[in-house]
């Protein structure tokens, strides 16, 4: 009925316009009409020559060709606005020869209102990863405002997960696991809980984290029987017990084993960075270097957990000219390839994921120098070095010329 009145009104308006125009000289009407036609033609032509943004249509399903399936990268796709950039990033990941990515799926993004899920962003990442033949390891975290304590004067952050909200978080994990079962079968529960920052600026609490694992583990398995629940990667740090900043990762891992965590995770995620040291530097409890992962593995074996595999979900070197813990670009490439070769020899290790493949926007600080491709999709030399490694092409020629004499 409303449509009828709208059409009737529009028709009446048209009649009135024509009636008004009839008082104007026909020549003026013809001239105006000619200009309107010209404008329409010009607009059509201009639209035809302006390049349209790339359309993220799904391609035929791909598979990742690689000689080294442990090659993996951590992506940052969830904050990407344009879908075509997600697709282009994942095409570059596939072409590099990495069959696995780690991607963050924040609870606060997906369930920003209680029981109202917005899966759009997650779905498009999953859709394009699947199309490229890439497996996703999902990192879960970030608490929506509604699940955080609302008491006045109480300070909370996106990382504040009160025990009272464990059930809501568990429900979200279960829903996520069920929705993406068969597509995402690896889920990391939280990130670096041994840092106060990552634990809502509270004193870190290994037993509290085990409580979280306990409730999440069974719910995730009920939702997806094939899911592999990964215990959170710990930040490599030497913070002593009682520090307000966090706790040494070795001590924290020991503490969660003592709290009975072994029954509540299927694999351990690990963060290990090389900082300014080469990949083959021997590990030591008082040193932060790449092979610190072996010390974590030692603890697992001490607690009779040798069968549980490890996924290194963040590692890498940085080649910023202004960060004191960085190396030169050539060292970064050499150390990264050394690390990948080392990882291939460790039968307890599933993946070695490089932080970070690409960021949606530049940060203009040293963190830009962790990336493998630039924001505008320029592939850095380290990308090609990893690609060669993944393809099984060993580097026989020198990568650079000898230093000039003089």
């Amino acid at each position: 009925m409303r449509l009828y009145y709208l059409a009737k009104g529009s028709f009446a308006l048209l009649i009135r316009v024509i009636d008004r125009l009839s008082h104007i000289k026909p020549a003026i009407i013809r001239c105006a009409a000619a200009w309107i036609v010209r404008a329409v033609i010009a607009y059509t032509l201009l639209t035809a020559i302006i390049p349209a943004p790339p359309r993220p249509l799904l391609d035929i399903p791909h598979t990742v060709e690689t000689q080294h399936p442990h090659v993996c990268v951590h992506t940052r796709l969830i904050d990407e606005v344009d879908e075509w950039k997600i697709q282009r990033t994942l095409v570059a990941v596939r072409e590099m020869g990495a069959p696995t990515i780690v991607e963050f799926f924040p609870w606060a993004y997906i369930e920003s209102n209680h029981d109202q899920y917005d899966w759009v962003n997650a779905d498009r990442i999953v859709r394009h990863a699947r199309n490229q033949g890439i497996r996703i390891i999902a990192r879960m975290g970030l608490v929506p405002a509604w699940a955080r304590p609302q008491r006045e004067g109480e300070f909370t952050t996106l990382n504040t997960l009160p025990p009272a909200a464990y059930n809501e978080f568990t429900q979200f994990i279960a829903d996520f696991a069920a929705r993406y079962a068969g597509v995402i079968d690896h889920i990391i529960i939280w990130n670096e809980p041994n840092l106060a920052f990552e634990w809502g600026y509270q004193f870190v609490n290994p037993a509290g984290y085990v409580d979280l694992l306990r409730v999440v583990y069974s719910a995730a398995h009920a939702a997806n029987p094939n899911v592999i629940v990964l215990a959170a990667p710990l930040a490599p740090t030497l913070e002593p017990p009682g520090s307000p900043n966090g706790l040494n990762d070795l001590l924290y891992l020991e503490a969660i084993y003592q709290a009975g965590a072994a029954n509540y995770f299927d694999a351990l995620a690990v963060h290990t960075y090389g900082f300014e040291h080469p990949a083959d530097q021997l590990p030591a409890p008082d040193a932060l270097n790449f092979r610190r992962a072996e010390l974590l593995r030692d603890i697992m074996m001490r607690y009779n957990d040798a069968d549980t595999h490890v996924y290194i979900t963040e590692t890498g070197w940085n080649d910023s000219p202004r960060w004191s813990r960085a190396v030169t670009p050539s060292q970064r490439i050499a150390y990264t390839i050394d690390a990948l070769e080392w990882a291939a020899d460790q039968n307890w290790l599933e993946t070695l994921c490089l932080w970070v493949f690409r960021t949606p926007a530049p940060t203009f600080n040293y963190t830009d120098y962790f990336t493998l491709i630039s924001v505008d999709f320029q592939r850095k030399p380290i990308y090609y070095a990893v690609q060669n490694y993944a393809r099984g092409i060993s580097q026989v020629e020198d990568l650079w010329l000898p230093a000039p004499n003089g």
Partner: protein, 257 residues
């Protein structure tokens, strides 16, 4: 009275009222004492980035430090340096622990909701370095010639980009930027693509070698203030402009690069 005169008087009266009202409601620019209520300019710096700001003994020195002192002298206000970590610079500014950041900061569009930048005082982008009598004045002049650069660096990525755009040149990667510049100095390469800071430092260390530089990419460094203090930027821009016109800014840059 003629109608024309009446109109003229009316026009003058209205114009006068508008002018007076404008003068009354237009806020006068804040004084320096109001802009910097602590009586000094609190300058946040990250003293870990030579030659812009770094420790020599207990003193912080560098290009940014000299620029801060020069601005203080120009405005007649004492400067107090506040040493901060790079990650904490913007937080210190936002929480009003410092009045301005002068710390080799690239202009970041994403921060413009909370920060205003001054006009840039240094361009740290990539430069093409060649001997002073070389015909190489841009990347397009490289066809068929030899270009040295640091393997894996930002320059390397830029070289790959240019190789797809122009007639080919001979690409010569070296392990370090200094080796790439050595190659040009010793005649093993025709030009080097390095960042402006490395080029400047190398030229300082090899004063006997005269070079020319052509800017290839831009990375503009500027001072930053809180977005809710736009008058501070105006004052700082005017000061930087005066320093430039007097040649002091160029002298400061030449002292360190």
């Amino acid at each position: 009275m003629a109608a024309r005169t009446q109109w003229l008087i009316a026009f003058l009266v209205i114009t006068g009222i508008i002018a007076a009202t404008t003068l009354l409601i237009t806020p006068r620019p804040p004084s320096l004492a109001e802009l910097f209520p602590s009586g000094q300019i609190r300058v946040g710096v990250d003293p870990s980035y030579a030659p812009f700001a770094f420790y020599i003994g207990d003193d912080i020195q560098g290009l940014d430090i000299d620029l801060a002192w020069a601005i203080g002298n120009d405005l007649g206000i004492p400067v107090r340096l506040v040493a901060l970590g790079f990650d904490g610079l913007y937080d210190a500014l936002i929480t009003d622990q410092v009045d301005v950041l002068i710390s080799a900061l690239p202009i970041e569009v994403s921060r413009l909701d909370r920060v205003i930048y001054t006009n840039p005082y240094f361009n740290a982008g990539l430069v093409l370095v060649s001997p002073h009598d070389s015909p190489i004045l841009s990347m397009r002049d490289l066809a068929g010639l030899r270009l040295a650069y640091e393997y894996g660096s930002t320059a390397h990525t830029e070289v790959n980009r240019w190789l797809r755009r122009i007639r080919p040149f001979v690409s010569q990667p070296y392990e370090l930027e200094s080796y790439a510049l050595d190659a040009v100095r010793l005649g093993d390469a025709d030009a080097a693509l390095v960042d402006a800071i490395s080029a400047g430092l190398y030229a300082r260390d090899h004063a006997e070698w005269t070079i020319q530089q052509a800017q290839v990419t831009d990375l503009l460094y500027a001072a930053a203030v809180r977005a809710d203090y736009p008058a501070r930027v105006t004052v700082l821009n005017e000061s930087i402009k005066r320093l430039f016109e007097r040649g002091e800014l160029q002298q400061i840059i030449a002292r360190w690069l």
